[in-house]
Amino acid sequence: MTAAAFRHALDLITRVRGVRGAMLVSGDDGLVVAEQLMEGIKGTAVAALAASLAGRLRRAMEAAGVGISVFWHLQAEQGALLVVPGGGASGLLIVAVAEPDVNIGLVRLELLRAAEAVG
Protein backbone atom coordinates (compact mmCIF):
# COMPACT_ATOMS: atom_id res chain seq x y z
CA MET A 1 0.00 0.00 0.00
CA THR A 2 1.45 3.39 -0.97
CA ALA A 3 0.89 6.86 0.42
CA ALA A 4 -0.90 7.72 -2.82
CA ALA A 5 -3.28 4.81 -2.30
CA PHE A 6 -4.00 5.98 1.25
CA ARG A 7 -4.68 9.49 -0.09
CA HIS A 8 -7.02 8.11 -2.70
CA ALA A 9 -8.89 6.11 -0.06
CA LEU A 10 -9.36 9.25 2.02
CA ASP A 11 -10.42 11.26 -1.05
CA LEU A 12 -13.32 8.85 -1.53
CA ILE A 13 -14.63 9.79 1.90
CA THR A 14 -13.90 13.51 2.11
CA ARG A 15 -15.59 14.25 -1.21
CA VAL A 16 -18.94 13.47 0.40
CA ARG A 17 -20.71 16.70 1.31
CA GLY A 18 -20.74 17.24 5.08
CA VAL A 19 -17.63 15.20 5.83
CA ARG A 20 -15.18 17.35 7.80
CA GLY A 21 -12.32 14.92 7.69
CA ALA A 22 -11.18 11.34 7.33
CA MET A 23 -8.32 9.36 8.76
CA LEU A 24 -6.67 6.00 8.57
CA VAL A 25 -5.74 4.95 12.08
CA SER A 26 -3.61 2.11 13.31
CA GLY A 27 -6.04 0.13 15.44
CA ASP A 28 -3.33 -1.38 17.62
CA ASP A 29 -1.39 1.80 18.35
CA GLY A 30 -4.03 4.51 18.02
CA LEU A 31 -1.70 6.47 15.77
CA VAL A 32 -2.65 8.40 12.64
CA VAL A 33 -1.47 6.66 9.45
CA ALA A 34 -2.95 9.17 7.00
CA GLU A 35 -5.36 12.06 7.39
CA GLN A 36 -7.34 14.69 5.55
CA LEU A 37 -8.90 16.88 8.20
CA MET A 38 -10.40 20.33 8.35
CA GLU A 39 -8.87 22.78 10.75
CA GLY A 40 -10.02 22.45 14.34
CA ILE A 41 -10.18 18.65 14.44
CA LYS A 42 -7.59 17.15 16.77
CA GLY A 43 -6.51 14.23 14.64
CA THR A 44 -4.14 12.60 17.11
CA ALA A 45 -6.74 12.72 19.89
CA VAL A 46 -9.52 11.35 17.67
CA ALA A 47 -7.21 8.57 16.46
CA ALA A 48 -6.09 7.52 19.95
CA LEU A 49 -9.58 7.56 21.43
CA ALA A 50 -11.26 5.92 18.42
CA ALA A 51 -8.73 3.08 18.50
CA SER A 52 -9.28 2.64 22.23
CA LEU A 53 -13.03 2.55 21.67
CA ALA A 54 -12.59 0.08 18.82
CA GLY A 55 -10.71 -2.30 21.09
CA ARG A 56 -13.40 -2.14 23.75
CA LEU A 57 -16.21 -2.51 21.23
CA ARG A 58 -14.50 -5.52 19.71
CA ARG A 59 -14.41 -7.18 23.12
CA ALA A 60 -18.05 -6.27 23.75
CA MET A 61 -19.04 -7.77 20.39
CA GLU A 62 -17.10 -10.93 21.14
CA ALA A 63 -18.69 -11.19 24.58
CA ALA A 64 -22.12 -10.72 23.05
CA GLY A 65 -21.36 -13.40 20.48
CA VAL A 66 -22.33 -11.20 17.54
CA GLY A 67 -19.07 -11.33 15.61
CA ILE A 68 -16.84 -8.48 14.56
CA SER A 69 -18.15 -4.95 14.11
CA VAL A 70 -18.38 -3.71 10.54
CA PHE A 71 -19.51 -0.11 11.05
CA TRP A 72 -20.20 2.27 13.90
CA HIS A 73 -21.90 5.61 13.91
CA LEU A 74 -21.75 7.87 16.95
CA GLN A 75 -24.07 10.82 16.65
CA ALA A 76 -23.34 13.94 18.70
CA GLU A 77 -25.03 17.34 18.92
CA GLN A 78 -22.64 19.01 16.52
CA GLY A 79 -21.54 16.16 14.34
CA ALA A 80 -20.91 12.49 13.99
CA LEU A 81 -18.06 10.02 14.14
CA LEU A 82 -18.25 7.12 11.71
CA VAL A 83 -15.84 4.23 11.73
CA VAL A 84 -15.26 1.11 9.69
CA PRO A 85 -12.60 -1.36 10.84
CA GLY A 86 -10.42 -2.23 7.84
CA GLY A 87 -10.57 -5.76 6.59
CA GLY A 88 -7.66 -8.16 6.46
CA ALA A 89 -4.62 -8.10 8.68
CA SER A 90 -3.87 -4.39 8.36
CA GLY A 91 -5.58 -3.55 11.64
CA LEU A 92 -6.49 -0.14 10.23
CA LEU A 93 -9.57 1.83 11.16
CA ILE A 94 -11.16 4.14 8.63
CA VAL A 95 -12.58 7.11 10.51
CA ALA A 96 -14.76 9.97 9.30
CA VAL A 97 -15.78 13.10 11.19
CA ALA A 98 -18.94 14.62 9.75
CA GLU A 99 -21.54 17.36 10.13
CA PRO A 100 -24.73 16.35 11.99
CA ASP A 101 -26.84 16.36 8.83
CA VAL A 102 -24.46 14.36 6.63
CA ASN A 103 -25.81 11.58 4.43
CA ILE A 104 -24.83 8.67 6.67
CA GLY A 105 -25.58 6.01 4.10
CA LEU A 106 -23.28 7.60 1.55
CA VAL A 107 -20.44 8.05 4.04
CA ARG A 108 -20.84 4.45 5.15
CA LEU A 109 -20.59 3.29 1.57
CA GLU A 110 -17.40 5.28 0.98
CA LEU A 111 -15.90 4.09 4.27
CA LEU A 112 -16.53 0.49 3.26
CA ARG A 113 -14.99 1.12 -0.17
CA ALA A 114 -11.96 2.72 1.46
CA ALA A 115 -11.66 -0.24 3.84
CA GLU A 116 -11.66 -2.58 0.89
CA ALA A 117 -9.02 -0.48 -0.87
CA VAL A 118 -6.63 -0.35 2.09
CA GLY A 119 -7.15 -4.04 2.89
Binding site: S26, D29, G30, L31, A48, A51, S52, G55
Partner: protein, 155 residues
Protein backbone atom coordinates in the same frame (compact mmCIF):
# COMPACT_ATOMS: atom_id res chain seq x y z
CA UNK B 1 -3.61 1.49 42.07
CA UNK B 2 -1.52 3.48 44.55
CA UNK B 3 0.22 6.66 43.53
CA UNK B 4 2.62 8.41 45.87
CA UNK B 5 4.63 11.55 45.46
CA UNK B 6 7.68 13.04 47.08
CA UNK B 7 6.73 16.37 45.49
CA UNK B 8 3.03 16.89 46.21
CA UNK B 9 2.32 19.06 43.15
CA UNK B 10 3.00 16.08 40.87
CA UNK B 11 0.34 13.82 42.38
CA UNK B 12 -2.84 15.10 40.74
CA UNK B 13 -1.45 15.24 37.17
CA UNK B 14 0.07 11.79 37.73
CA UNK B 15 -3.15 10.17 38.94
CA UNK B 16 -5.11 11.77 36.08
CA UNK B 17 -2.57 10.37 33.60
CA UNK B 18 -2.74 6.89 35.12
CA UNK B 19 -6.54 6.87 35.00
CA UNK B 20 -6.98 8.33 31.53
CA UNK B 21 -4.17 6.56 29.70
CA UNK B 22 -4.74 3.28 31.60
CA UNK B 23 -1.05 2.83 32.25
CA UNK B 24 0.21 0.15 34.61
CA UNK B 25 3.34 1.80 36.03
CA UNK B 26 4.54 5.39 35.98
CA UNK B 27 7.63 7.04 37.36
CA UNK B 28 8.26 10.78 37.45
CA UNK B 29 11.89 11.67 38.09
CA UNK B 30 14.52 14.29 37.51
CA UNK B 31 17.00 13.75 34.65
CA UNK B 32 19.46 12.63 37.35
CA UNK B 33 17.13 9.81 38.37
CA UNK B 34 15.78 11.31 41.58
CA UNK B 35 12.21 10.06 41.95
CA UNK B 36 9.45 12.67 42.29
CA UNK B 37 6.43 10.38 42.20
CA UNK B 38 5.39 6.87 41.25
CA UNK B 39 2.30 4.87 40.54
CA UNK B 40 1.87 1.12 40.49
CA UNK B 41 5.25 0.04 41.88
CA UNK B 42 5.15 -2.15 44.95
CA UNK B 43 8.85 -2.50 45.77
CA UNK B 44 11.41 0.22 46.44
CA UNK B 45 14.10 -1.71 44.63
CA UNK B 46 12.03 -1.72 41.44
CA UNK B 47 11.59 2.04 41.65
CA UNK B 48 15.31 2.59 42.14
CA UNK B 49 16.21 0.31 39.23
CA UNK B 50 13.63 1.80 36.89
CA UNK B 51 14.66 5.36 37.79
CA UNK B 52 18.35 4.63 37.23
CA UNK B 53 17.72 2.85 33.93
CA UNK B 54 15.24 5.45 32.69
CA UNK B 55 17.57 8.34 33.49
CA UNK B 56 20.46 6.49 31.84
CA UNK B 57 18.46 5.88 28.66
CA UNK B 58 17.47 9.55 28.50
CA UNK B 59 21.08 10.62 28.99
CA UNK B 60 22.30 8.18 26.32
CA UNK B 61 19.75 9.24 23.74
CA UNK B 62 20.36 12.93 24.46
CA UNK B 63 24.04 12.39 23.81
CA UNK B 64 23.30 10.39 20.67
CA UNK B 65 21.11 13.22 19.41
CA UNK B 66 23.84 15.72 20.25
CA UNK B 67 26.36 13.74 18.25
CA UNK B 68 23.93 13.64 15.33
CA UNK B 69 23.53 17.42 15.76
CA UNK B 70 19.85 17.05 16.38
CA UNK B 71 17.52 18.28 19.08
CA UNK B 72 17.03 15.68 21.83
CA UNK B 73 14.54 12.95 20.94
CA UNK B 74 11.01 13.82 22.02
CA UNK B 75 10.12 10.35 23.22
CA UNK B 76 11.10 6.73 23.08
CA UNK B 77 8.67 3.86 22.80
CA UNK B 78 9.53 0.20 23.11
CA UNK B 79 6.76 -2.21 22.28
CA UNK B 80 6.85 -5.82 23.31
CA UNK B 81 4.26 -8.53 22.83
CA UNK B 82 2.12 -7.57 25.82
CA UNK B 83 3.56 -4.35 27.22
CA UNK B 84 4.89 -1.07 25.95
CA UNK B 85 7.42 1.22 27.60
CA UNK B 86 7.19 4.95 26.97
CA UNK B 87 9.95 7.31 28.03
CA UNK B 88 9.93 11.06 27.56
CA UNK B 89 10.65 14.30 29.33
CA UNK B 90 8.71 17.48 29.90
CA UNK B 91 9.52 20.95 31.16
CA UNK B 92 8.24 22.46 34.40
CA UNK B 93 9.17 25.49 36.46
CA UNK B 94 11.08 23.08 38.72
CA UNK B 95 13.16 21.88 35.77
CA UNK B 96 12.89 18.92 33.44
CA UNK B 97 10.88 15.90 34.54
CA UNK B 98 11.49 12.49 32.99
CA UNK B 99 8.45 10.24 32.67
CA UNK B 100 8.65 6.47 32.39
CA UNK B 101 5.36 4.70 31.74
CA UNK B 102 4.61 1.03 31.23
CA UNK B 103 1.31 0.11 29.61
CA UNK B 104 -0.52 -3.10 28.74
CA UNK B 105 -1.22 -3.35 25.03
CA UNK B 106 -4.64 -4.87 25.58
CA UNK B 107 -5.95 -1.93 27.63
CA UNK B 108 -3.95 1.03 26.31
CA UNK B 109 -1.95 2.08 23.26
CA UNK B 110 0.90 4.34 22.27
CA UNK B 111 -1.59 6.85 20.89
CA UNK B 112 -3.46 7.06 24.20
CA UNK B 113 -0.24 7.33 26.21
CA UNK B 114 1.07 10.11 23.94
CA UNK B 115 -2.23 11.95 24.04
CA UNK B 116 -2.53 11.98 27.82
CA UNK B 117 1.20 12.53 28.29
CA UNK B 118 0.73 15.87 26.55
CA UNK B 119 -2.11 16.67 28.94
CA UNK B 120 0.02 15.68 31.93
CA UNK B 121 2.86 17.90 30.65
CA UNK B 122 0.47 20.86 30.58
CA UNK B 123 -0.92 20.02 34.03
CA UNK B 124 2.51 19.58 35.59
CA UNK B 125 3.73 22.82 34.08
CA UNK B 126 0.72 24.62 35.55
CA UNK B 127 1.10 22.97 38.96
CA UNK B 128 4.85 23.29 39.39
CA UNK B 129 6.16 25.80 41.91
CA UNK B 130 9.00 28.08 40.89
CA UNK B 131 12.44 26.50 40.99
CA UNK B 132 14.50 26.97 44.12
CA UNK B 133 18.23 26.62 43.66
CA UNK B 134 19.52 24.03 46.07
CA UNK B 135 22.99 22.66 46.33
CA UNK B 136 23.00 18.89 46.50
CA UNK B 137 25.69 17.57 48.75
CA UNK B 138 26.94 14.01 48.53
CA UNK B 139 26.39 13.62 52.26
CA UNK B 140 22.71 14.49 51.84
CA UNK B 141 22.12 12.21 48.89
CA UNK B 142 21.62 8.94 50.72
CA UNK B 143 19.47 10.52 53.42
CA UNK B 144 17.28 12.21 50.79
CA UNK B 145 17.00 9.00 48.78
CA UNK B 146 15.99 7.11 51.89
CA UNK B 147 13.39 9.76 52.79
CA UNK B 148 12.02 9.72 49.25
CA UNK B 149 11.61 5.94 49.28
CA UNK B 150 9.91 6.11 52.68
CA UNK B 151 7.45 8.64 51.27
CA UNK B 152 6.87 6.64 48.10
CA UNK B 153 6.18 3.40 49.95
CA UNK B 154 4.53 4.81 53.08
CA UNK B 155 7.07 3.55 55.56
Amino acid sequence: MTARAVEGWTLRPLTDFVREASVRLVLLMTPAGQVLAQSGFSRAVDVMSAAALGAAIMASTAELARQLRQAPFAALNHQGQRHGIFLSSLATDRGAVVVLAVYDLDVSSLGLVQLFFEQMATDLQAASPKAVSKQVLAADFERELSESLNTLFGR
